[in-house]
């Protein structure tokens, strides 16, 4: 409130300040405030402003330095991303190898092969013709949905995945059936890409 009054007073005394200034500022500090619009007053405000900026910036720098020091390590972050990549690719691959349509059997088996590596890939190559013949004969369509998945092991370029799938089989004539299945899959990283090296359905031991 007092500032307001001071400022509104200013124009009336605007003619005299240059000479009256020096003694005024030493005798009556209050008047220095009134001269907020003068060069000197403005400069002192700039000084105060800069000091405030420095204090705030130092505080922010200290805060961020603490945040940086307590952030998760880059190695952990990369390892977590590697795990997620293996889990996602493994889940997709298991679904792929449980998906087959008699009308596009060749493409389907080609996708199985593309998602696999090593022994599994060799086995698929060897039994490719039989697989295609069988699905064409049955005129069936099989689709799969990933219910849950987790890694049981994760090493350098190797992992083991457990997966729960709902597998829907639509035979030519009969009603479609859905069964829930458990799978264990061996994953191998080939050229930066996770592939299936082995896949086994976990049957109930009898």
């Amino acid at each position: 409130m007092t500032n307001h009054v001071d400022v509104s007073d200013e124009p009336e005394t605007a003619d005299e300040p240059e000479t009256a200034h020096e003694p005024d500022s030493s005798d009556e500090p209050d008047d220095a405030d009134a001269g907020g619009g003068t060069d000197r007053g403005r400069r002192s405000w700039i000084t105060v402003g800069l000091a405030v900026v420095i204090v705030l910036a130092v505080a922010a720098a200290v805060w961020f330095a603490i945040r940086l020091a307590t952030a998760a390590s880059g190695a952990d972050h990369e390892a977590a991303e590697e795990r997620d990549a293996a889990l996602a690719a493994g889940g997709r691959a298991v679904v792929t190898l449980n998906t087959l349509d008699h009308r596009t059997a060749e493409d389907g088996i080609a996708r199985w092969q593309a998602a696999s590596t090593g022994m599994l890939r060799e086995q698929l190559a060897a039994s490719k013709e039989d697989l295609i013949a069988a699905v064409r004969k049955a005129k069936s369509r099989t689709t799969a949905h990933l219910v849950a998945a987790a890694l049981t092991e994760l090493g350098k370029g190797e992992a083991r995945l457990m997966a729960v799938l709902d597998i829907k089989v639509r035979p030519a004539e009969e009603e479609p059936t859905t069964k829930r299945a458990r799978y264990i899959a061996d994953l191998v990283k080939v050229g930066g890409e996770w592939r299936l090296g082995g896949l086994s359905s976990v049957a109930v031991e009898k």
Binding site: R43, T47, A57, A61, T70, A71, A72, M162, E205
Partner: protein
């Protein structure tokens, strides 16, 4: 005049310092905020010792609380009391209450053996694991056991007394 020159030099110096300090704060801020907080990372298979510890404990608890014979019902119940917390208590009661009654009345035995455990999430004191287990149930006097393959998702909480199961979801 000398005072004015000195104060203007001071202001220039302050301005330079302000720019440098602001730049440092911005640089530190970008570096700090681009990294995830430890609480935001899922440490499953990242922190290997903890991952193994929670998987082992999930396996031990599952084998014990889901197995019983007519003679060990009390022991199974005691283990359940020690290792289950929160929602898991009611979930277990719903799943196993009727079976434990059958154990006493009809001489039912159940043997549960974990085949695989996979840790999905591991954050602070929380974990979720996927469990595959094989189950063999047998009634007294019957030589034909019934076999089953179980898929269970467990939620675990780390307490002062080790990992406890706080959620059981049968998949």
């Amino acid at each position: 005049m000398a005072e004015s020159a000195r104060s203007s030099r001071t202001r220039v110096a302050l301005a330079v310092v302000a720019v440098l300090v602001v730049a440092a704060a911005v640089a530190l801020g970008i570096a700090a905020e681009s990294k995830p907080r430890p609480g935001e990372i899922n440490y499953a298979h990242v922190d290997q010792p903890r991952t193994t510890a929670v998987a082992d404990q999930a396996q031990r608890i599952t084998d014990k609380v889901f197995s019983f014979t007519p003679d060990t019902v009390a022991a199974t119940k005691r283990t359940a009391q020690q290792t289950l917390r929160g929602d898991a208590v009611a979930q277990y009661e719903k799943l196993y209450g009727p079976l434990l009654s059958q154990a006493r009345n009809d001489g039912l035995s159940m043997d549960t053996s974990v085949a695989s455990v996979g840790v999905q999430q591991l954050r602070d004191d929380h974990a979720t694991v996927l469990v595959f287990a094989n189950q063999r149930g047998q009634k007294k006097g019957s030589d034909q056991p019934s076999l089953g393959g179980a898929r269970v998702k467990l939620e675990l909480l780390h307490t002062d007394d080790g990992w406890k199961i706080i959620g059981i979801t049968v998949l």
